[in-house]
């Protein structure tokens, strides 16, 4: 079991075949998550059971997010005994012509491989700002990443199996374990409408940034649906069900990854039937350089840069303000390397005099929607906070 993990761990366990089948080597028992998952020490642990960890804005400065700065969001317990030679993906459900099973090798050989940079943001990124507070991990701004994912198109796999005309949704099932230890419960089993499942960029990925996907991010197989709440991108996927109705797996109903269909006043109790599933994530941006708290000398110009993304849409403009949103200046904005990848912006700022400033960034999507400067519509679980990012600067 662990021998096959060597690739993901980045080193080999000598005599791995001699390990008792349920013995975890000391380094895996080690509860230091930074070593365990190869994360930078500046990453912030929100929860250690299940593991949840986020980045800080300045850690996300890379154009392509490396593993060490990628947030971890888990609903259950990460699987450990993964044998890639035995791993299978089953395609089943009411709306497939016939149930079919693929080994990892089948997937790699039978279908064309594609690489896309895909932005994945946790639906609850920014939850910590909600008032009244919303239940769950209190993400600030760091539950977003944009890595390169390599795999086969879900569409190609589904087409080889054959879909019935009544297919409306796909739902994933995976190898992670429920927190309660109940083997009959799935920690999370979400999905996307068939139209999203059939997009070019929707992948069954086996590589991230050119290497095997790290264990915490879904090794050996992850469904990647860029631009949607990252929970739609199931990790450790071993089954995909093609449904003739909206998938009804764990965390598809109630207040999970759903928001009131119509805006409500903060703190309102909303009935289940008035909640709608989150699809594309809203327009958002992050200033990733400089780190907030910079002291700069008077008459020095400040270069800023960062990323902007808008779910399914493209970002058409990013602006900055140094006067609390009274006036805005347009930033230089790059095109995305592919659809659903974040875009990079930069600007050079001159400050009129000494004092305290906040640099605010505001992105606008192709439909003309911009980021709000305050918290957007309140919802019970604190999703979709795309309020503009701010950093503090003092000119001295």
């Amino acid at each position: 079991m662990l021998g096959t993990l060597a690739g993901t761990l980045g080193f080999e366990i000598v005599f791995a075949n001699k390990l008792p089948s349920n013995y975890l080597p000391l380094f895996l028992q080690d509860q230091d998550p930074f070593k365990l998952f190869g994360k930078d020490k500046e990453m912030v642990v929100l929860n250690n059971k299940p593991w949840n960890m986020e980045a800080q804005a300045h850690l996300l400065n890379d154009k392509v997010t490396p593993n060490k700065y990628m947030f971890i969001r888990n609903n259950g317990i990460i699987p450990t005994n993964i044998d890639t030679s035995q791993w299978t993906l089953t395609i089943d459900g009411e709306s497939v012509q016939t149930q079919k099973q693929f080994s990892l090798q089948d997937l790699k050989i039978k279908f064309g491989q594609h690489t896309y940079q895909l932005t994945l943001e946790c639906g609850g990124n920014g939850r910590s700002e909600f008032d009244p507070p919303a239940k769950g991990n209190q993400w600030t701004i760091g539950a977003v990443s944009s890595a390169q994912w390599t795999g086969v198109r879900l569409r190609d796999v589904l087409e080889s199996v054959g879909l019935k005309s009544d297919a409306v949704y796909i739902g994933y099932h995976a190898a992670d374990n429920h927190l309660s230890g109940d083997p009959n419960k799935e920690p999370i089993s979400r999905g996307v409408p068939i139209s999203k499942a059939l997009q070019d960029e929707t992948l069954l990925a086996f590589q991230m940034n050119g290497e095997d996907i790290p264990l915490a991010h879904g090794y050996p197989l992850r469904l990647v649906c860029g631009g949607w709440p990252a929970s739609a991108s199931g990790k450790w996927v071993n089954r995909i069900s093609v449904r003739n109705k909206v998938h009804d797996g764990a965390k598809m109903g109630g207040s999970s990854y759903r928001v009131p269909c119509e805006n409500v006043s903060p703190g309102t109790k909303v009935e289940d039937e008035n909640m709608c599933i989150i699809e594309s994530m809203p327009v958002k941006s992050l200033i990733t350089y400089p780190k907030s708290g910079a002291l700069i000398k008077a008459n020095r110009k400040l270069n800023i840069n960062g990323h902007a993304w808008a779910g399914e849409l493209q970002v058409t403009q990013v602006e900055y303000s140094i006067d609390f949103g009274s006036t805005w200046v347009t930033c230089k904005l790059e095109q995305p390397v592919n659809r659903l990848a974040w875009q990079h912006f930069s600007a050079t700022i001159s400050f009129p005099k000494k004092g305290y400033y906040e640099v605010w960034a505001k992105a606008t999507d192709q439909n003309g929607k911009s980021q709000p400067m305050v918290l957007p519509g309140w919802n019970p679980k604190g999703y979709l906070n795309n309020a503009c990012h701010r950093i503090a600067i003092k000119v001295v």
Partner: protein
């Protein structure tokens, strides 16, 4: 006669030897059965490292869990940190009704047990020590560390 007798002795010793072998195998089997490692019984059970529980309190905080030291803390630790970490509790802020609704949700969907007499104790503890504070529509940037940017 003598040859017959020899033959019978040989046959008897063969039978006895067979029985001996059978017993050895049986005992070896029993020995293995009794002493076999538990992981062959439950293949899926994970090895959980034993960690000594440190119950010390510093500045009113239970160091091992991060919980505020107050009436009901032990009941909260015992009932609320089996499945998830204490951090999932301590990073949240809710009214008593909110905490109660969370407990009901866990009982209905996440296999949380009936808390019995402890429920009132736990709810009182959580509502007092982890109550919501008003944040408004946008908080200040809480910049505490400054650095010189060249």
């Amino acid at each position: 006669m003598k040859r017959d007798f020899n033959h019978q002795v040989k046959q008897l010793s063969r039978i006895l030897f067979s029985f001996l072998l059978l017993f050895i195998v049986l005992f070896a089997g029993l020995f293995y059965w009794v002493n076999r490692s538990p992981d062959t019984i439950q293949e899926t059970e994970e090895v959980i490292p034993l960690v000594a529980v440190d119950d010390s309190i510093e500045n009113g905080i239970h160091l091992a869990t991060g919980f505020v030291d107050d009436d009901g803390m032990q009941a909260t630790i015992q009932n609320c940190t089996n499945c998830h970490s204490a951090k999932l509790v301590t990073q949240n802020r809710m009214s008593r009704e909110g905490w109660e609704a969370t407990i009901r949700w866990m009982q209905e969907t996440q296999n949380l047990w009936d808390l019995g007499d402890n429920e009132d104790l736990i709810l009182t503890y959580l509502a007092k020590n982890y109550a919501p504070d008003s944040k408004g529509r946008r908080q200040n940037i809480n910049q505490t560390e400054w650095y010189e940017l060249e």
